[in-house]
């Protein structure tokens, strides 16, 4: 019987695969797979013990099903049994299954570890290799804990087989990557370094990888690897192509090892010791020379391998950046590759040249290739190559060739791939600004950008052009004239309308003398675009109009007519309506003097790094820039205000009582005007917390609201790797705020942090007050909000700050304020962490506090009748939807206090719902951007036992659990 089943067994696999293949539809395939899964499951669960062979067969089938994209949630146990078997074939399949279908079930890991331990101790090299492979492929922390002590011993033991040494080296490397804290450094390090001298090139390759990673972290400890690596490299480079036998690949001696050694050397500066240095230079020269020799083979593999070494050598030369001679030779070599017929080489040459361009020795040499690169941009068929060409042009740009490069990039932009347009736009904008000698050229370039690729021009770009125009009076008249002309195109991009509206509002008077651009013509031109624009742009145009009232009193009546029209005064959009009403009142009531003061020309912006640059850097990550909330002035109705992303508030001006208006306007000067400049401030102060790095850090250096300086106080760099390290009594603080929104969050001898927060639906706003309790100034004051990985996708934090503080110093006794905008995207568990840093008396203070942003903050209370309540309660009857907790009262059981807490929690307190009057029932809806989760709760106090029973039912398991955790801590 077994003999037959063995023979047929693998046919069973083949038949299954053929069956799948013959399925005519996806449904049929899924059906067949489910049938097979059910079969396997029953076989595994069956009473009859399976022999190893059948297990192997079924595990193979599971692997195949997994490959087709189906979840496999069983079979791990059988795999563990297989890997513990003494038969090689079974063991091997067991390990394979575990490595491919990693499962973090700890019980399972314990069993696997057991098997691994036995195999490592078996002294059977095949088994040892399988075990090491499994550790390296899974690389979990549990495994690291179990084996970090053993593996170095295996690696450096004298009697270990070469193939096992190789595996052990890479295994150690993997564990060092996943759990660096667990891998002990120590006496074995020097013996590892000496593996570079090993006879077996496979061992040397693996050891080099290991040493490179370790050396990046502990350069000092592995310093002696430099001389060993150089001598090894030298031996390889100078060897005849037959010396290394099997490690010669298409006539190139040990190319992978050479590449690895060259990488290792890039961890260090040029060797100090003269002899080593000389030998290395010799090696590099030899490699460069070899590139000029005729190829030993026509095969592409030969040139690939040779060039792999060459490119790595060039990287090392660029990294050392110390031998002008080598740098220039490298540059020439890359120049040759730029015109090579192999696309791969052109791609790599462009890429390497990018780094070469930043070296002062070779920058000029790189520049000589400009024509070739421009040509590549025009003629390459491959978008990845074109992208590299754009990168290189950007890198080689300087004052001497900026005009040419920018012109070429603009040219290319007209036909560029959509995927890289935004990046090109940013690059052009940066280069144009950086190398502008003549700012009229800059203005022309940006307007061209908007014309060619308006959709790809991000907010930052047009904010920046406005900042520059405002700051340079030599270009204002020209700008006004140019935008005026550009606006005359029958169809112009909305971004152009924005720039045009802003600039004419500020400097329209400079061209009003020309009858072709008289005030009325300017106004009519702008207003002709008005109806085609989106709300934010219209809001901006309304501000332009009120500025026109000041600039051109002669068209005041026309503008008032427009403002007065129903389409403005009764606009459905609350922001537009408000502006229209307020501006109209302002124009009617205020005297010319007041108007002139209120609507004065914008003051120059403080100089600072371009926000576009920040944006470009960010673009390199996958982070999306969320719709940004604009800098809003505070006002009473903030939360009732708009929720649309761009709402430019002008409402600090309350016109109800004319007598106070002068005063108000005096103070409100900035708000009104700034509202026009929505804000460059917004653009840069809001920080994208979706950046790729975790933990995400959004920095919020205190800066003035009028001041556009960017939040670069370096907090992102300083925040420790482990953000939770010094979190103050984390949960306790959060619990304190579960049922209330205001209060003192944190206090020590130095400072007090107070909070005021408001939440509405899925949005929230938190005012954070930092009080300096000392009499000494805090310097370099910066704060950052850190979201843990998992949290990042669930809540968005838009941060910005308002404070009168321009520099990051907080005076003794002073208080600064920040605002944090919060958007809940989906339900979440963890709270974000606020990190604060400052210098006090020379010492750097660093503290972290959990911010009380909890899921229940996004509750909207729901009133319902008893009947409704019970009907819904019954609908939520799946076991996972209900969470119940019985707990002891921590506070006196006062009915009124309990009621207040439930209301504070966010739900509506429903009277007369529960038949038992001493019970509490509540209902509410959690609002997140993605979903809304209805929630019913019931709290039953038992005063005799001093206990509560809390029951929650929501449509989402996670929500039920989280809310239960939060609320049960409150009583």
């Amino acid at each position: 019987m077994p003999a037959v089943s063995k023979g047929d067994g693998m046919r069973g696999l083949a038949v299954f695969i053929s069956d799948i293949r013959n399925c005519k539809s996806k449904e049929a395939e899924i059906k067949r797979i489910n049938k097979e899964l059910a079969n396997i499951r029953s076989k595994f669960k069956g009473d009859k013990a399976l022999d190893g062979y059948s297990k192997k067969k079924y595990v193979c089938k599971l692997l195949f099903i997994f490959l087709l994209g189906h979840d496999i949630d069983f079979g791990h146990m059988e795999a563990v049994n297989l890997l513990s078997s003494n038969r090689y074939t079974e063991k091997q399949i067991g390990y394979l299954f575990i490595s491919v279908l990693v499962n973090s079930n700890s019980e399972l890991i314990r069993l696997i570890n057991n098997g691994i331990k036995n195999d490592l101790a078996s002294r059977n090299p095949t088994f040892m290799n399988l075990a090491l492979h499994c550790i390296a492929n899974v690389g979990s922390r549990e495994m690291a804990e179990a084996f970090t002590a053993d593996i170095p011993k295996i690696l450096v033991a004298g009697d270990t087989m070469d193939s096992v040494k190789q595996s052990a080296a890479l295994c150690l490397l993997r564990l060092n990557r996943t759990s660096p804290d667990l891998v002990p450094m120590g006496e074995w390090t020097s013996r590892v370094v000496h593996l570079l001298n090993d006879q077996h090139l496979g061992v040397v390759t693996a050891a080099t990888s290991l040493i490179t990673t370790l050396a990046q972290k502990n350069p000092e400890e592995f310093k002696m690897s430099v001389s060993l690596a150089v001598s090894r490299l030298s031996r390889i480079v100078t060897s005849a192509s037959t010396d290394l036998q099997d490690y010669t690949y298409y006539f190139v001696p040990a190319p992978w090892l050479s590449v690895k050694l060259l990488r290792l050397l890039q961890c260090y500066p040029p060797p100090e010791e003269g002899a080593v240095r000389g030998r290395l230079t010799e090696c590099l020269e030899t490699i460069l020379n070899k590139a000029q020799e005729p190829p030993k083979s026509k095969k592409v593999q030969h040139s690939n391998a040779k060039n792999a070494v060459l490119f790595e050598a060039i990287s090392l030369i660029i990294h050392h950046d110390s031998e002008p001679n080598l740098l220039v030779r490298a540059c020439n070599q890359l120049g040759q590759f730029l015109q090579h017929r192999e696309t791969n080489l052109r791609y790599l040459a462009l890429e390497s040249m990018c780094t070469l361009a930043s070296s002062e020795f070779s920058h000029e040499a790189v520049k000589t290739h400009i024509e070739t690169v421009i040509n590549a941009l025009k003629t390459e068929r491959d978008v990845s190559v074109r992208q590299r060409a754009v990168d290189l042009l950007y890198a080689m740009c300087d004052r001497s060739n900026a005009q040419q490069i920018v012109a070429e990039m603009l040219n290319y932009l007209e036909t560029a791939d959509y995927s890289i347009r935004e990046e090109i736009v940013l690059k052009v904008a940066i280069l144009a600004e950086k190398y502008a000698v003549d700012y009229t050229w800059y203005v022309d370039t940006i307007l061209n950008l908007i014309r060619i690729a308006g959709d790809y021009v991000s907010e930052e770009v047009w904010y920046r052009v406005i900042q520059i125009v405002i700051n340079r009076d030599d270009v204002q008249g020209y700008s006004a004239k140019t935008v005026f002309e550009a606006l005359q195109a029958p169809a112009c991009h909305e971004n152009l309308v924005k720039v045009g509206g802003y600039i004419l509002g500020e400097f329209g008077n400079l061209i009003a003398g020309d009858p072709r651009s008289s005030p009325l013509i300017q106004f009519n031109l702008l207003h002709s675009k008005f109806h085609l624009c989106s709300v934010p742009t219209r809001a901006l145009l309304l501000s332009t109009y009120i500025k026109f009232v000041n600039l051109f009193p002669e068209i005041k009546a026309t503008i008032q007519d427009v403002l007065r029209s129903d389409s403005q005064l009764r606009n459905a959009d609350v922001e537009l309506q408000q502006r229209a009403v307020e501006y109209l009142r302002l124009s009617c009531i205020a005297s010319t003097d007041i108007l002139a003061t209120v609507l004065e020309e914008m003051p120059p912006f403080p100089e600072r790094e371009s926000s576009i640059l920040t944006k470009l850097k960010k673009k390199k990550g996958p982070g999306k820039v969320p719709d940004m909330e604009e800098t809003k002035k505070e006002r009473n109705s903030d939360m009732n205000g708009s929720t649309e992303p761009v709402s430019v508030n002008s409402s600090a001006v309350t016109m109800s009582t004319p007598s106070t208006s002068t005063d108000l306007l005096g103070l409100g000067l900035a708000p009104v005007l700034n509202s026009v400049a929505p804000a460059s401030a917004g653009g840069s102060l809001l920080v994208d917390v979706f950046s790729d790095n975790s933990p995400a850090v959004a920095s919020l250096a205190p800066t003035a609201e009028e001041n556009f300086s960017s939040p670069r106080i370096g907090s992102a760099d300083v925040v420790s790797d482990d953000p939770a390290a010094a979190v103050h009594d984390a949960d306790e603080l959060v619990n304190k705020f579960v049922c209330k929104n205001n209060g003192v969050l944190f206090e020590n001898q130095l400072m007090q942090i107070g909070l005021k927060s408001e939440f509405r639906q899925n949005l929230g706003r938190m005012y954070i007050f930092y009080g300096n309790k000392t009499s000494t100034q805090f310097l370099s004051f910066s704060t950052a909000v850190i979201c843990q990985d998992a949290l990042k996708t669930h809540i968005l934090l838009h941060l910005f700050c308002i404070t009168k503080q321009v520099d990051p110093a907080v005076d003794g006794g002073a208080q600064v304020q920040q605002i944090l905008n919060i958007e809940c995207v989906s339900d979440f568990m963890e709270a974000p962490i606020l990190n604060i840093q400052f210098r006090y008396g020379g010492a750097l203070q660093n503290m972290s506090v959990k911010l009380p942003v909890t899921l229940n903050k996004f509750f909207q209370p729901t009133e319902m009748t008893s009947q409704d309540f019970f009907q819904r309660w019954k609908q939520l009857s799946i076991p996972q939807q209900e969470v119940q907790k019985i707990f002891k009262a921590k506070h006196p059981m006062d009915t009124e206090v309990t009621k207040a807490k439930i209301i504070g929690f966010g739900v509506a307190l429903l009277d007369m719902v529960d038949p038992n009057p001493s019970n509490f029932t509540g209902a509410g809806v959690i609002h997140t951007k993605n979903i809304q989760v209805g929630c019913l709760l019931r709290l039953e106090p038992n005063t005799q036992a001093q206990m509560y029973r809390l029951t929650l039912r929501t449509s989402r398991e996670t929500v039920s659990q989280r809310l239960c955790e939060l609320l049960s801590e409150q009583f």
């Binding site: 063995k6 994209g69 979840d71 099997d246 190319p255 792999a308």
Partner: protein, 193 residues
């Protein structure tokens, strides 16, 4: 470091997937789809490198791939790897497969998933290059075959299964496609599931 190795056919059907960094299963499938989408629309004359898709980490990672007859071999690597080195590594891997299976074809990958994984394990371990010497790799595989034979000739069964399918389902005579140096025999099958 190599972050993942994906082999799929011209229709995007995965034939081997290996991740050296943890991704949940559904994410793995999404990455395969995204990668296939990125790679398959490129014609064969363009370069073999491109920036990684957004799921796998965007421009910090490169996709380095080769297209052999019906199969794409895609390695997703970080900036610590040499592009040309990886390209040659793919070649070594495929040449080894070719030696071990004698004219490897897509079917071999399907019916011998375990063996292909084993060969790959000899080349790449935990995301790092383990061995580049083809003879050494082949020796390891032969060693494995010997072990299997000594345990009861099980390995013969899959071979029989393959030859059965190969002979059974071939509507036309296999044709040879010459790619680079290796001849990969590609049975002219209708698209395989």
């Amino acid at each position: 470091m190599i972050k993942s190795i994906l082999i799929f056919n011209n229709h995007g059907k995965p034939r081997l997937i290996r991740f050296y960094q943890f991704f949940p299963e559904d994410m793995q499938q999404q990455i395969i789809r995204e990668t296939f989408h990125l790679v398959s629309k490129r014609d064969d004359s363009v370069c073999n490198f491109l920036e990684g898709g957004s799921l796998i980490g965007g421009s910090d990672y490169k996709l380095i791939y080769r297209h052999y007859a019906t199969l794409y071999f895609v390695f997703c690597v970080d900036s610590c790897e040499s592009e040309l080195g990886i390209l040659d590594l793919i070649q070594v891997f495929v040449e080894t497969l070719d030696k071990c299976f004698e004219n490897v074809c897509e079917l071999d990958l399907i019916f011998h998933v375990d063996k292909v994984h084993y060969i790959l394990q000899q080349v790449v371990m935990g995301g790092m290059v383990l061995e580049t010497n083809m003879n050494e790799i082949v020796a390891q595989v032969e060693n494995q075959n010997r072990l299997e034979k000594s345990e009861g000739g099980l390995s013969a069964a899959p071979a029989r299964a393959v030859s059965a399918v190969k002979n059974m389902n071939l509507p036309e005579i296999p044709r040879n496609i010459n790619i680079g140096d290796i001849n990969i025999k590609v049975p002219n099958l209708s698209p395989f599931v």
